[in-house]
């Protein structure tokens, strides 16, 4: 073996493979950006054209909040969103924890039920809900269940809508939470907290939820997006939410109707972004 002890002065060539990967990545991101942004831009461009005077105008966007009923619809939609997010968490988190920690036998049932809503088209689900609600004033009139069905339809804050939205959001919430629960060692954390004297409430509230933060937020995002964008069910059950209100006011004005929908899309996204930025990832792993 002949020892070659000359040290190279310049650095050896950087491997090509790293470059190639970055190139594909850029291409994919570029194409995706074109696909997703062009239609959005086209819609926005349509709404800011001033057809009368020429040039550009933001009047359709500024006119939205001034339209009658905006505040009410927004308030209702946001309350629905908050209630649904809370509801979906209150309903799925304990169930999933119980299934993970104590009742593994029930897991297939919970998992199966939580997938079902994906299968049923909203238009069919809402027809079923309507049929069920119709039982209230008809076949079930005078019974407590009938009363409950009727009083769940308070137009100011329709609980039935919250329930249906919870059901619709469950598949997404379930997926997100399931990943989260698998990632933390739930059993050890629960044991540790119990051993330190926590009640079950403390365990869930102080230990599990904070550590499922990412998963909970993910579930909340999808739920928020769903509630703030849902039209079919609210309109057929005749409730006045932001999406139904938007359709109502856009009327014969084409530019207004489009600006209303793009605005709500961007508004929802910004809302999610703000919530997500408010979440400082204290718990993110540092191992990379």
């Amino acid at each position: 073996m002949t020892a070659v002890l000359t040290r190279p002065v310049e650095a050896p060539a950087v491997h090509k493979r790293k470059r190639r990967f970055n190139a594909t990545r850029t291409v994919v991101l570029g194409l995706a950006a074109v696909y997703f942004l062009v239609p959005l831009a086209a819609a926005v461009w349509f709404t800011v054209q001033d057809k009368v005077h020429g040039g550009v105008t933001g009047e359709y966007y500024t006119s939205i909040p001034q339209a009658e009923g905006f505040a009410g619809a927004l308030r209702r939609s946001l309350s629905l969103a908050v209630l649904t997010v809370l509801g979906v968490l209150l309903v799925t988190v304990p169930a999933m924890l119980a299934v993970t920690l104590r009742l593994p036998k029930l897991r297939p049932i919970v998992e199966g039920l939580s997938l079902l809503p994906l299968v049923i088209p909203p238009i069919a689900l809402v027809a079923g809900v309507r049929d069920m609600l119709a039982l209230g004033p008809n076949q079930l009139a005078g019974t407590p269940f009938g009363d409950a069905l009727v009083s769940s339809q308070d137009p100011e804050l329709p609980i039935i809508l919250v329930v249906v939205y919870i059901v619709l959001a469950t598949p997404f919430a379930y997926r997100s939470l399931d990943a989260g629960i698998r990632a933390i060692d739930a059993r050890t954390l629960v044991d540790a907290a119990r051993g330190l004297g926590s009640s079950w409430f403390d365990v869930v509230w102080r230990v599990l939820l904070p550590n499922l933060r990412g998963a909970v937020l993910g579930a909340a995002f999808l739920t928020l997006g769903l509630v703030l964008g849902e039209y079919t069910i609210a309109s057929i059950l005749l409730f006045d939410t932001l999406p139904t209100w938007l359709v109502k006011i856009s009327g014969e004005n084409g530019q207004l109707s489009v600006s209303v929908s793009t605005a709500s899309l961007l508004f929802t996204w910004l809302l999610l972004l703000v919530v997500s930025l408010a979440d400082r990832p204290k718990t993110s792993r540092s191992d990379s």
Binding site: F46, K51, V52, A127, R130, D131, L133, A134, G136, P137, N138, L140, A141, G142, T143, G146, D147, L149, V150, S151, S152, Q153, D154, P155, S235, I236, L238, D240, T244, V247, K248, G251, E252, N253, G254, Q255, S257, V258
Partner: protein, 362 residues
């Protein structure tokens, strides 16, 4: 508030007061009706877009005139939605009081006993073939299928269904929705049938006509809305004349010269129907609304929205119809204008539902 299903059952049997009234006399005259309606203070209407047949102004006028708050729900909803709302909201304060339905739905609803029979003061002015003998439903306004056209984008606006086949209209012709779902789009197909050798008992030529139009690329299946018209995607839109004509003003503000023509080769007209929900939460206001709609004022307001109110023939003769408004209506060769019988429409719908997709697909 806390609802009660008991109330629904009660509403069912509540045959006293306004809810039982089948005419204004039953309540004790119009003033008594107004007083009772004012006491209720609210009126729930459903599936009434503000830009449809001048409903916006009708609602506002009624509201100011009687000091009654009008709640308008699900403006883009369908007749089926109205029927469903009546059933599922029975007994609730937000159940619809009055309905504006397609003919088929009015008849089937009446058969199910969902409506409260009521005869407005001007009942006699409504032709017999346009109302239920007991007053469960009655035609309110109607119109003709028309061709709307953006004169700035289209050099020569088409005047007939035959014109629409010209190659210059490639990718420009649209219906107001899907004829298997939307009433006006269905009417468009029926009109096309009449223009192509069909009849009230034969809608097939209309289907074939659109299939050919699709094949040539003239017809695009997108739902025409003010937004697509403004965008220029649907510069030619087949729709009720009162809708097309109603758009003109708003579109003019956007710099679009929207021309409306009722095609002479396919004159097809039809009426919608009014009905009162049997379990209306505001029975007096509901009846007052009907009186208002069928009064001269109400009928003229419809006319203002380019719709043709049911009393128009009588009012024209009596001179109560606003002449300028009548003159502004799209011109129709009324000699050709006939109304299809409800069972004819039903039969045609069946043919269309079965055949449309097959004919147009591909």
């Amino acid at each position: 508030g806390c609802g009660s299903s008991k109330k629904a059952a009660d509403a069912q049997n509540n045959k006293t007061g306004a809810a039982a009234a089948t005419s204004v006399q039953d309540i004790g005259g119009l003033d008594a009706l107004v007083a009772a309606a004012k006491a209720e203070g609210q009126l729930n209407v459903i599936t009434l877009p503000r830009d449809w047949a001048n409903y916006g102004e009708l609602i506002d006028t009624f509201s100011t005139k009687y000091g009654i708050k009008v709640n308008s729900d699900n403006p883009d909803g369908s007749s089926q939605d109205e029927i469903n709302a009546v059933k599922s909201l029975k007994g609730q304060d937000r159940a619809p009081d009055v309905l504006d339905l397609g003919g088929a739905f009015a008849q089937s609803g009446a058969k199910e006993g969902l409506f409260a029979p009521y005869k407005v003061q001007t009942w006699a002015d409504i032709p017999d073939n346009q109302k239920d003998a007991d007053g469960a439903w009655y035609n309110d306004y109607g119109g003709y299928i028309s061709i709307g056209c953006d004169a700035k984008k289209i050099a020569v606006c088409p005047q007939t269904f035959a014109d629409l086949k010209k190659p210059e209209y490639k990718g420009k012709v649209a219906l107001n929705g899907d004829p298997t779902k939307s009433g006006s789009a269905f009417a468009g197909v029926f009109a096309a049938a009449l223009a192509n050798g069909g009849s009230f008992t034969n809608i097939q030529p209309g289907i074939d006509y659109f299939a050919a139009l699709k094949k040539s690329g003239n017809y695009i299946p997108v739902e025409s809305t003010p937004a697509t018209i403004e965008k220029g995607e649907t510069p030619i839109s087949i729709d009720w004349d009162y809708l097309n004509a109603g758009y003109t003003k708003e579109l003019a503000a956007k710099g679009i010269d929207w021309k409306v023509a009722v095609p002479a080769d396919g004159v097809y007209g039809n009426f919608y129907c009014q009905a009162i929900n049997k379990t209306a939460p505001h029975p007096a206001a509901a009846r007052l609304w009907e009186e208002f709609l069928f009064s001269d004022e109400g009928q003229n307001l419809w006319l203002k929205g380019f719709a043709r109110p049911v009393r128009l023939p009588k009012m024209t003769t009596s001179g109560k119809a606003d002449a300028t408004l009548v003159a502004a209506l799209p011109q129709v060769d009324t000699t050709k204008a006939q109304l299809p019988a409800p069972d004819q429409v039903d039969a045609a719908k069946k043919v269309l539902t079965d055949g449309w997709t097959k004919a147009l697909n591909g």
